[in-house]
């Protein structure tokens, strides 16, 4: 890909970067004396206040795909990208806080796979633990690769130096302070990302002539691309038909695929985020964690999507801001870095780049802390060496942090050599993850769900995902990784996004039906007594009457959902 004009950093920019690194390492150093048991290392001793857990919950997900990817999607699809927040993430976060946290936190499970063992059986846990562990290592590797590639492209930094530097810093602060250190740094990164990106957004909007000016320019973008004038600036108007919007999705695929299956699946079952809430200092705090996270989350489109929208408006109306790739389309992934370079002078540029690096590192750290926990508790303690002392598992946690990072580095280098292997792995993980939410939903709300039902239901869902993907293609793609690899192409979707949403819908439905049928055919392996605290009907309701109104999860949930509705209406 052709390089954009490289940015030169001044002494002030490097100073800011170095101060940030000093604080990150300093926090790890200051927290090291609090790590005395494995529970301290992996779960912060369950002592994190709700607001910190909430911001970390948000920040752990603010990795590479969020900042770079949402900016890129903002440029490519416009404000419809905000559905990832206002239809996807926010309702899912409310659901996990209100309905799922009582089981996660109340069961005292130390990880999501461990919950699956308590609720279902060993094989369901093993399947989830192993796929999750592999996935986190690769996600962290991809994050590292993306960061190093970006720094190479934009700043001309050496790829290897960037990989080693980010790996060493993340390793150091997790090794010292465990999950607490990762969580504290995620909160630091949250503020940094807000403070680093806000001036960019403000300057961009000022340059565009405010929201009205931006909308006018985006109309040119939309009509040039052959869509109705509002296709980049209305979030719902053009969802009646897939051909009417750049995302190529209609409302049902959007709401069910993205909103229900993918977002609920991610926010409710991914240990990477759930771990932050499990570290909270009380049940009430654990339930508030996702709800408190939802409040800033609903405003994040302004921070991460808007720069992309401004970038495409600039690109189209003033010409040639984004570098053009070999296929003739703009390189959307560079939207955010190009915007940083376009508006920010030396000084704030350093702050913006530091924020960008912080987002990559928080994504990496999130994966590594989730990996070392699942590895130590769900794989090592369960299958390799059970019954050892707590100190033994604490040492294993430290070791797992080191080899988790080493494996991530290996994954980062594997990506540079075999791009396809990485795409393939991500595809496989998507197949495994899409049905998972059905398993949790049935497990938590239907006590009749059996271990065999859950396990084979998951396999059926995964197979359904692979089968669907293998028989369909997005418009204009050749059979292969993009789909259609089973020989026959039964349906062509208007876009890759639509294909992914429908793969998720099929996988979820297959898993849901499969789990029910197999559960009815097999005997229950857990009695009502075993399931106390794990299933909705067998768990005492949470009473929040002793909390002030602003601390009650239900009140917060109404506020969050109400505000989200308002946002959807404003940008309809």
């Amino acid at each position: 890909m052709p390089a954009p004009q490289q940015i030169h950093l001044g002494a002030i920019d490097y100073t800011i970067l170095i101060v940030y690194f000093a604080f990150v390492l300093g926090i790890g150093w200051a927290l090291r004396r609090f790590v005395k048991s494995s529970e301290d290392f992996f779960l912060s001793g369950r002592s994190i206040p709700a607001w910190i857990a909430g911001l970390a919950f948000l920040s752990a997900n603010l990795g590479a795909q969020e900042v770079i990817g949402m900016g890129a999607s903002g440029a490519k699809y416009g404000i419809m990208t905000s559905h990832f927040y206002w239809v996807g993430a926010i309702p899912a976060m409310v659901f996990v806080g209100i309905f799922m946290m009582p089981f996660y936190y109340g069961s005292r499970a130390r990880s999501v796979p461990e919950y699956l063992k308590l609720r279902f059986d060993e094989k369901t846990r093993g399947f989830n633990a192993i796929t999750f562990a592999v996935m986190t290592v690769f996600s962290s590797g991809i994050s590292m690769y993306a960061l190093a590639k970006l720094l190479e492209l934009v700043l001309g930094w050496n790829f290897h130096t960037s990989v080693v530097l980010s790996a060493v810093i993340v390793l150091a602060y997790i090794f010292l302070g465990g999950l607490t250190s990762a969580i504290y740094n995620e909160v630091l990164q949250f503020f940094l990302i807000v403070m680093g990106f806000l001036p960019l957004v403000l300057l961009g909007l000022k340059d565009m002539g405010g929201w009205a000016g931006l909308t006018a320019k985006l109309e040119t973008v939309a009509t040039n691309a052959g869509y109705a004038a509002g296709a980049w600036s209305d979030s719902w108007h053009h969802l009646n038909a897939a051909s009417a919007n750049p995302m190529g999705v209609e409302w049902f695929g959007m709401v069910m695929g993205l909103g229900f299956v993918l977002s609920f699946g991610y926010w409710c079952t991914d240990f990477l985020v759930v771990q932050r809430a499990m570290a909270a200092d009380s049940m009430a705090a654990a339930r508030r964690t996702p709800l408190l996270a939802a409040i800033p989350k609903m405003l994040f489109p302004a921070l991460v999507i808007l720069p992309g929208m401004i970038a495409i408006a600039l690109h189209v109306t003033r010409g040639g801001l984004l570098p053009i790739g070999s296929d003739g389309t703009p390189n959307y992934n560079l939207a955010v870095p190009v915007m940083l370079a376009h508006y920010l002078p030396s000084g704030l540029l350093g702050l913006g780049l530091t924020a960008l690096m912080a987002s990559f590192m928080s994504g990496m750290a999130g994966n590594v802390t989730a990996f070392n926990t699942v590895w130590t508790y769900d794989i090592y303690q369960s299958y390799v060496r059970p019954g050892q002392s707590d100190g033994h598992y604490l040492r294993m946690g430290h070791a797992a942090t080191v080899f988790g990072i080493l494996l991530s580095v290996a994954a980062a280098y594997a990506t540079t050599r075999f791009n396809n292997i990485m795409d393939m792995l991500q595809l496989v993980f998507a197949f495994v993850n899409a049905p998972l939410f059905a398993t949790f939903l049935l497990g938590m709300f239907w006590r009749r769900t059996t271990g065999h039902g859950a396990f084979f239901g998951l396999l059926i869902g995964t197979a359904a995902a692979a089968l669907h993907h293998g028989l369909v293609l997005p418009h204009g793609a050749a059979p292969g990784l993009k789909g259609g690899f089973l020989g026959a192409v039964l349906h062509t979707y208007p876009s890759e996004m639509a294909q992914n949403f429908w793969t998720a819908i099929f996988a979820w439905s297959a898993c849901f039906v499969g789990t029910i049928v197999i559960s009815l055919l097999t005997a229950r392996n857990k009695s009502d007594d075993d399931l106390r605290g794990l299933v909705y009907a067998l768990t005492p309701r949470q009473t929040d009457h002793d909390l002030p109104w602003y601390k009650r999860p239900a009140t917060l949930a109404f506020i969050v959902l109400g505000l989200t509705l308002v946002l959807n209406v404003i940008f309809w």
Partner: protein, 79 residues
């Protein structure tokens, strides 16, 4: 809480703010052409200083209130 997170956050942003403010005062005006002629380093630097000081203020006040030792390190209070 083991370490009042408001203290390092406040300190870091106060330092960032001070660095940017000073740089905004001494830097060549020409570099602000790209930021639409606004001396963003100066202005955003002041915003960051204010944010940092507010965070520090809350952190220090809480520390005074409960004494230098964190709550979980103090002997239990018998009431």
């Amino acid at each position: 809480m083991k370490l009042d997170l408001r203290l390092p956050i406040g300190l870091m942003f106060a330092i960032f703010g001070a660095l940017l403010t000073v740089y905004g005062l001494v830097s060549d005006r020409a570099i602000y052409a790209r930021s639409l002629g606004v001396n963003v380093n100066l202005w955003w630097g002041l915003v960051l200083v204010a944010f940092g000081l507010v965070m520090l203020g809350f952190g220090i006040r809480a520390r005074r209130k409960r004494g230098p030792l964190a709550r979980d390190q103090r002997p239990p209070v018998v009431s």
